[in-house]
Amino acid sequence: MKRTAFYPLHQQLGAKLVEFGGYEMPVLYTSIIEEHKAVRQGVGIFDVSHMGEFEIRGHDALAFLQRVTTNDVAKLADGKVQYSSMTFEAGGIVDDLLVYHCGDHYLTVVNASNMEKDIAWMRANTAGLDVQITDASDRTSLLAVQGPKSLATLKKLTSSDLASMPYYTSIRATLAGTPMLLSRTGYTGELGFELYFDSSASVGASVWNAVMEAGKEFGVKPVGLGARDTLRLEMGFCLYGNDIDQTTNPLEAGLGWITKLDKGDFVGRGALLKAKADGLTRKLVGFTLDEPKAFPRHGYEIRSDGRAIGAVTSGTISPMLEKGIGMGYVEFSASALGTPVHIRIRQSDAPAHVVKLPFLER
């Protein structure tokens, strides 16, 4: 199993470590609920160095990204970041990812569990193009600093103007004495930043410790993957492997907004055009449970009129709403907001209804 540069710090902090995407990662340090609330109310720091970073270079880097991603990379200006997906020829999702325009090259950030599949698939789709794909994952550390106090924390550590950075933009900056790529992005719905820098343990420790020191007055907490999951789910963000995978397409997953069918050809476009023309048969929806103490989990049946109409893909208790929330695919006819459904929890049907995402207004 791989370890990130922050592994010794996780150990010192007494984190509970689990295998995730081939890495030994902290799932929590003290409590998922405490860590979750620190991010919603103050600031939290996440080691997400398990994510994969690929650099895309060459004359045809743009043409290549247009071919393998569903969003329109021609619209991505230097210094901007774009959420996107990659689809197989049949329309199923290879992965969801971020694409950074870094001036002389692009950077794509993919899920740890998909790294090998992604790079192989990307390389298999370079025919006729001048493009080089470099896996920078092992030399890149990634920390996410998220929460309403993230800006106040990080601005103590850099002379760069973080306050004027729009959402989904990136800059080159020196923070805590370390050169890095810094973007205003995240997976929590809060004001937040992601920091990409050299993966040596000493550099990692100095950045981590500087953020912890700067955030002390705001009650900064290290946050594990457990709270990362509850935070993203409150925002209705998809998690690959749960809510999206090669058996789901971006249109039914509610990712039509990153699927630009009119940008020109890309892998999977034909299948997606057909899916759209045929009409969606199912849709990923958010739902909340009507009763307290009923919590949906991955795999539970979603029912209506006594029969299964879908399954839960992600479910938990929302630490902020203090009730069961979840997402899942349901038959299209049951996807309208307000539709009453039931979630099969063990031997009983718990009432729920389809709600607008995100669960939490931000």
């Binding site: 509850t230 208790i317 630490p319």
Partner: protein
């Protein structure tokens, strides 16, 4: 981590404290730590009979749901009602306020087959 000497343990991380003809049941400190924040404990009604090894309830933590297995057989005579409003007691006092059910032992000889504290520690490597 604490594993009191007087208790008997299961491989599924429950404990039972024998009090005469009765047994008080809960989950271990190790189990609560693995589960994390516990938000709901579903327990059987008073009067129900449980069999050793059978599911007698479920425990919902933020990250996952788990079954609870009866360490011994018998009739449920008391249920810890405090957990309904304060399930976090299972996290904070797993051997005290976080107890779950009390049963009238149906087959007292089952107790001898359970793990003692030392054997349980060895099982979980603590």
């Amino acid at each position: 981590m604490e594993f009191p000497e007087g208790l008997k343990y299961t491989k599924e991380h429950e404990w039972v404290r024998v009090e005469g003809a009765a047994g008080v049941i809960g989950i271990t400190e190790y189990a609560q730590g693995e589960l994390g924040d516990i938000v709901f404990v579903e327990l059987p009604a008073k009067g129900r009979t449980v069999k050793q090894g059978e599911t007698f309830g479920t425990i919902e933590a933020v990250k996952a749901v788990s079954d609870l297995y009866a360490p011994v057989s018998g009739e449920v005579t008391e249920v810890n009602g405090a957990l309904e409003k304060a399930s976090e007691l299972v996290n904070s006092e797993p051997y005290g306020g976080g107890w779950m059910i009390k049963i009238k032992l149906g087959s007292p000889q089952e107790v001898a087959g359970l793990l003692d504290a030392k054997q349980y520690r060895a099982l979980i490597g603590k």
